[in-house]
Structure formats: structure tokens, C-alpha cells
């Protein structure tokens, strides 16, 4: 195992690592990411407090904006891309996301059904 810092072409990329670019290009990547992230954040905060859109659409819009911003962070800051040198990183990410969706989605689903099927606490107390 060598301690080389520059990986020869044709190798995999570590997460967070970019393909060989000049400094200017790399800085530009971060600037683009920052601008996109700030735009999405500003939109989120604007949407949350506005009366201009149909109110039930606001939660959906907030979730979509959040997922979009996470994508921007992954691509421009963490440099997780779909290139062939990134396969292992993307596969690990996909598995992580699977677990996240199972945990969050499953919890919300089950607990909502429990709440709907169970009478309030004072009724249970009266039944005893």
C-alpha cells in the first residue's frame, strides 16, 4: 500500500475526491454548488411562509426542495457522481438510502395506522 496522493487514471475515486481538474475548475464547482444550495434554501424559506401558493402543496414542495438540495450537496461538495470510477461510493449510498427510507417510511406508516386504529387514552381507561 503506497501513500500516493495522485491516483493513476483508470482507478476508482475515493468519496469526496474529484477527477483530475485544475484548481480554477474545482473552485468553480464549489461556487456553483454554493449558489444552487443558497437558491434552494431561499426558495424553501420563502415557500414555507407564503400565501401565494395552494397551502396543501407546501409540505410536498419543502420535501422536494430538501431532496434537491441534498442532491446538490452530494454532487458539488461530496463529488458523488454516476461515473464508472464512483460505482462503489454510489452503491454504498444507495444501500444507506434504502435503510433510511425503510426506517423513516416504515415508522411513519406504522405509527399513523396505530394512531388511527387506537381509541384515545381516556376511552381506554373508561373501558377498564
Amino acid at each position: 500500500m503506497s501513500d500516493q496522493t495522485h491516483i493513476p487514471a483508470g482507478h476508482d475515486l475515493a468519496p469526496g475526491e474529484e477527477e483530475q481538474h485544475g484548481v480554477g475548475e474545482r473552485i468553480l464547482g464549489y461556487v456553483v454548488g454554493l449558489v444552487l444550495a443558497l437558491l434552494l434554501t431561499a426558495t424553501s424559506f420563502f415557500i414555507a411562509g407564503t400565501d401565494l401558493v395552494w397551502q396543501p402543496s407546501i409540505p410536498v414542495a419543502l420535501i422536494v426542495l430538501a431532496i434537491a438540495q441534498m442532491g446538490v450537496h452530494l454532487v458539488f461538495f461530496l463529488h458523488i457522481t454516476t461515473g464508472p470510477d464512483n460505482t462503489n461510493n454510489v452503491l454504498a449510498l444507495a444501500f444507506g438510502l434504502l435503510v433510511v427510507f425503510l426506517v423513516v417510511g416504515g415508522t411513519v406508516w406504522i405509527m399513523a395506522h396505530l394512531n388511527a386504529n387506537m381509541p384515545p387514552m381516556d376511552q381506554i381507561m373508561r373501558m377498564q
Binding site: G16, V23, T41, A48
Partner: protein, 213 residues
């Protein structure tokens, strides 16, 4: 990692019984380290997803206490968000400076990142202290328990990140841009950017969705 590199040789002799072919060997240490740290970050994100799930379930259970809309200050959260976003950017600048071995820009980028992280922590601490002083501590209701544990867990991560950041500056000062120091710097940058991703979830779900009237 060796999979893609050997794919080109996968013909007549898949088990390399005949002649010895040129094998690339294990991936460079830099890739192995960062990949392992990436796995850790994903497991950290899975842990956060449990806190998010708890918050989503408990956000309505206020037990007569305050609702989210009554205690969240949108302006405070916006300032915190901008701080973390800018710190992610300056952290990226510092890691570029480390790669080209430019001490001045490295120290500058890391210092700005540290200051922005500290501003974030101060704002969050003041918000928590204010809530506790008004009697809305984590023991007031299930909603506040979920809120304090989720946001507090993220805050603890940021605190650990700031300590790590100062360690990296000290190591570069004492040891220079050695290969092992650069690997740690890479892991730190991954950690800091991942915290920013989690904060996107926190401000969207906790403050904006949970703060809706």
C-alpha cells in the same frame, strides 16, 4: 475496488490458473480510508434517520405544551443555515488548498470554517437556553424531547467537527502536508459536508414543516 480494474481481463481464464496476469493489487490507502469513512458517514445518516422518524411521529404530541410554530424563529434558523452553507464552501476551499499544499489559503479557509461553525453553535445554544428558561425543556412534552434530541445530536456532531477542525490545523502546522495528514483532512471534509446535508433535513423537516401553523 479491484472489480472495475480487472474487468478488462475477464476472458478465457477467469481464475488466473494459467499465466500470472498483471494485477493492480489493493487500492491506494487514500481510497480505502475515504471509502471506509464514507461507510461510517452513511451509518451516521441511518442513525439520524431514526431521530427524524421519532420527530415525525411525535411532532404533534405536545401534551398541552407549545407547538412548533410558537417556539421556532425562522430568522434565527435562516442565519444558522447560511452559516453552515458558507462553512461547507470554505471547507471545500481549504481542502483544495491542502491538495495544492498552500498553507496560507488552508489556514484561512479552516479559520473561516471554524468561525462560521462556532457562530452556528452559539445561535443554537442560545435557542436551547431560551427554550429551557421559558420552561420548554426536553422534559416538557414528547414533541420537545424529539426536537432536542434530533437538533442537539446534530449540534454535538458540529461541536465534534469543530474540535476535529482545530486538530487538523494543528497537525498541518506541526507535521506539514504529509500523506496521512491529507487523508485525515479528506475525511474531515467529508464529515463536514455530510453534517450540512443532515442540516438540510433538519431545517426542512423540523423548522419549516414542523413550524407550519
Amino acid at each position: 475496488m479491484a472489480m472495475t480494474a480487472t474487468a478488462g481481463h475477464a476472458h478465457a481464464d477467469p481464475h488466473h490458473i494459467g499465466l500470472v496476469i498483471e494485477h493492480p493489487g489493493p487500492a491506494p490507502k487514500r481510497i480505502v480510508t475515504a471509502y471506509g469513512f464514507w461507510i461510517f458517514l452513511l451509518s451516521d445518516i441511518v442513525m439520524f434517520s431514526c431521530f427524524f422518524a421519532a420527530y415525525a411521529v411525535l411532532s404533534g404530541q405536545t401534551a398541552g405544551g407549545p407547538k412548533g410554530a410558537e417556539i421556532f424563529e425562522q430568522r434565527n434558523v435562516a442565519i444558522e443555515t447560511v452559516c453552515l452553507l458558507l462553512s461547507s464552501f470554505t471547507c471545500g476551499m481549504a481542502s483544495i488548498a491542502a491538495d495544492v499544499r498552500n498553507r496560507f489559503w488552508f489556514y484561512l479557509g479552516m479559520t473561516v470554517t471554524c468561525v462560521l461553525g462556532l457562530i452556528f453553535l452559539v445561535l443554537e445554544f442560545r435557542e436551547f437556553a431560551d427554550l429551557v428558561a421559558r420552561g420548554y425543556g426536553p422534559s416538557r412534552s414528547a414533541f420537545l424531547t424529539a426536537f432536542f434530541s434530533l437538533v442537539g445530536c446534530h449540534g454535538l456532531h458540529v461541536s465534534a467537527g469543530v474540535l476535529w477542525l482545530l486538530t487538523m490545523m494543528a497537525q498541518v502546522f506541526a507535521k506539514g502536508f504529509r500523506a496521512d495528514v491529507l487523508r485525515r483532512m479528506m475525511c474531515f471534509a467529508l464529515f463536514w459536508h455530510a453534517l450540512d446535508i443532515i442540516w438540510v433535513g433538519v431545517f426542512s423537516v423540523v423548522y419549516l414543516l414542523g413550524g407550519a401553523p
